[in-house]
């Protein structure tokens, strides 16, 4: 099994979001960066599938040099080697074309990634990569089993799920509970240092959309507290002030 796992390098889910440079840049001051939580599920499932079926895992990230500690973590968790496409991941179409360029000659049996990044939440890259490579894509995938050359999945839909079958190769956008996140052990961390991390330059493609500016939502007014013995007041407020019921 030859697996490509695409990871994002994103602020920890507890990060306070702020912007600098006239609201055109993310303020990374004091922010800890992690493997995207959904990508982490994809990587964890890839490690399990490798244990079960044998093969290799390549981790891929589109990002600058600052993402290398995150890529090393993927190597510590269980990727065999890694590729970093040396470019800012500013737009889903741009990123998808970079991934497709790396993947097209790689003969991967599957390309796994998170259902979406947690910075831009686009959720589009897996579908674009599949289309660019001419192979099917499925997202969000909750379970993934491989039987011979067939993949069996469940995909979450509004209010439930569907069971899916398709032939390899494919692209999947993953989410829980596809696997438990894996915490790198000391052996993994040591070996990650010497695993290959190849840096390639991006292919020259146009952006689909370009950033104009960032903005934070308006701050919420304070909370109005209601006595637990007076739920009628809450009903009145919801009816007459908020007008939502």
């Amino acid at each position: 099994m030859k697996i490509l796992v695409c990871i994002t390098h994103v602020p920890d889910t507890t990060s306070k979001i702020a912007f600098t440079d006239g609201d055109t840049k993310f303020d990374a001051t004091g922010v800890q960066f992690i493997i995207g939580p959904y990508d982490d599920y994809a990587l964890a499932r890839a490690v399990e599938l490798k244990e079960q079926l044998g093969g290799t895992i390549t981790a891929l990230n589109v990002g600058g040099t600052e993402t290398e500690p995150t890529i090393r973590k993927a190597l510590a968790i269980g990727a065999d080697d890694a590729v970093r496409v040396n470019a800012d991941p500013t737009d889903s179409l741009f990123v998808a074309q970079q991934i497709a360029a790396v993947a097209k000659d790689g003969a991967y049996d599957m390309i796994l990634m998170g259902r979406e990044s947690i910075d831009f939440n686009g959720g589009m890259v897996h579908g674009m990569v599949g289309e660019l490579l001419g192979i099917p894509s499925v997202s969000p995938v909750m379970t993934l089993e491989i039987e011979g050359s067939t993949a069996k999945m469940t995909r979450e839909i509004e209010g439930g799920k569907e069971s899916i079958e398709l032939a390899l190769p494919f692209v999947a956008g993953c989410q829980e509970p596809i696997a438990e996140w894996k915490i790198p052990n000391m052996r993994g961390i040591m070996s990650a240092r010497s695993k290959p991390l190849n840096v390639v330059e991006p292919v020259d493609v146009a952006q689909g959309a370009t950033l104009s500016k960032f903005e934070l939502p308006a701050a919420k007014g304070g909370v109005k507290m209601i006595n637990a013995d007076n739920v009628q007041e809450l009903v009145d407020l919801l009816k007459n002030e908020a007008k939502v019921i």
Partner: protein, 305 residues
């Protein structure tokens, strides 16, 4: 028709120009012509029974040729479990600029600028869509559904679909029916660990029923299998944007807040007055859910009767 579909039509109508809607698979003819009342001037109906299976690659093929057929350069659709994957595939087919989670109408006074939700609702980005073809996968509430009193012509639109469009085979679908779907709900009642066990979910369901609300839950509740995963609201679960979100026995971890921060109003009921969720709430009650919630349900029933 799903509200999210009507919102897509309302969004397109808000942009100006001629709006063609497309419906796939078995759809009643009155529903098709009825789309005129929401802002569509033409409705294409791709009635191939194969489209009753919601396979994204088949939908993308039909939509891309529908764009060619009517000469449209802009496609608006709801960013759903089907609309998302479909958008991504058409973006490649049509070499289009694609922006998802769009929250309001574009600014076309200079170029084509759209505002999208990012960082799981914690911020927005305004981006410029520079390609000739544009796809907007809109977020719930991006446009207000309005009845326009218009009429639409219905045209049958058939595209030859090959096996290549159905490499993904849907073996079975397991979907709750008759309930209000969480991602589309206007009102949501959500329960957390404070409810102590799945056997106590009756009072959440009773309150939801009295309100006509969907039910949700926090991540620990779904992790412990008290409730199914599709009810998990939060950073790695469903992101909701209802008019009212009532959180019961949920402390309000930042990952949960990420899933609810585009709610218009938030009510928090928690016995711990230090629960961080109160800081994100509009209305709060410090109290025991087992006492407060049944009383609230009765008060809502009384107010509705």
């Amino acid at each position: 028709m799903k509200k999210s579909s009507l919102e897509a039509i309302a969004y397109a109508n808000g942009m100006g120009g001629e709006v063609t809607a497309i419906a796939m698979g078995d759809v009643e003819s009155t529903e098709l012509s009825g789309l005129g009342n929401y802002g569509a001037t033409k409705v294409l109906h791709a009635s191939d029974a194969k489209l009753n299976e919601r396979v994204s690659s088949a939908y993308a093929t039909v939509l891309a040729s529908a764009m060619d057929h009517v000469g449209a350069n802009t496609l608006v659709l709801a960013n759903s479990s089907l609309g998302g994957p479909v958008s991504a595939q058409i973006a490649i087919k049509k070499d289009a600029s694609l922006v998802s989670n769009v929250v309001e109408l574009p600014d076309t006074s200079a170029g084509f600028l759209v505002k999208r939700s990012i960082y799981t609702g914690k911020a927005f980005a305004t981006v410029s869509m520079d390609k000739e073809n544009k796809i907007l996968a809109i977020k719930k509430n991006a446009a207000e559904v309005k009845e326009t009193g218009g009429t639409a012509s219905v045209e049958s639109f058939d595209v030859a679909l090959s096996d290549d469009n159905f490499k993904v085979k849907i073996i079975s679908t397991d979907k709750t029916t008759g309930e209000i779907l969480l991602p589309e709900a206007e009102l949501v009642v959500s329960g957390g660990r404070g409810l102590k066990g799945p056997e106590n979910w009756g009072m959440i369901e009773d309150l939801a029923k009295a309100l006509g609300a969907a039910t949700g839950c926090s991540k620990p509740v779904s992790d412990m299998d008290w409730r199914p995963h599709h009810e998990h609201v939060g950073q790695t679960g469903v992101k909701v944007s209802p008019n009212l979100y009532i959180a019961i026995g949920i402390s309000g971890a930042i990952q949960h807040l990420a899933g609810v921060n585009s709610s218009k109003y938030i009510v928090v009921i928690n016995k711990d007055e230090e629960a961080p969720f109160f800081k994100a709430a509009d209305y709060g009650i410090v109290g025991d859910a087992f006492e407060v919630v049944p009383k609230l349900t009765e008060a809502i029933k009384a107010a509705n009767s």
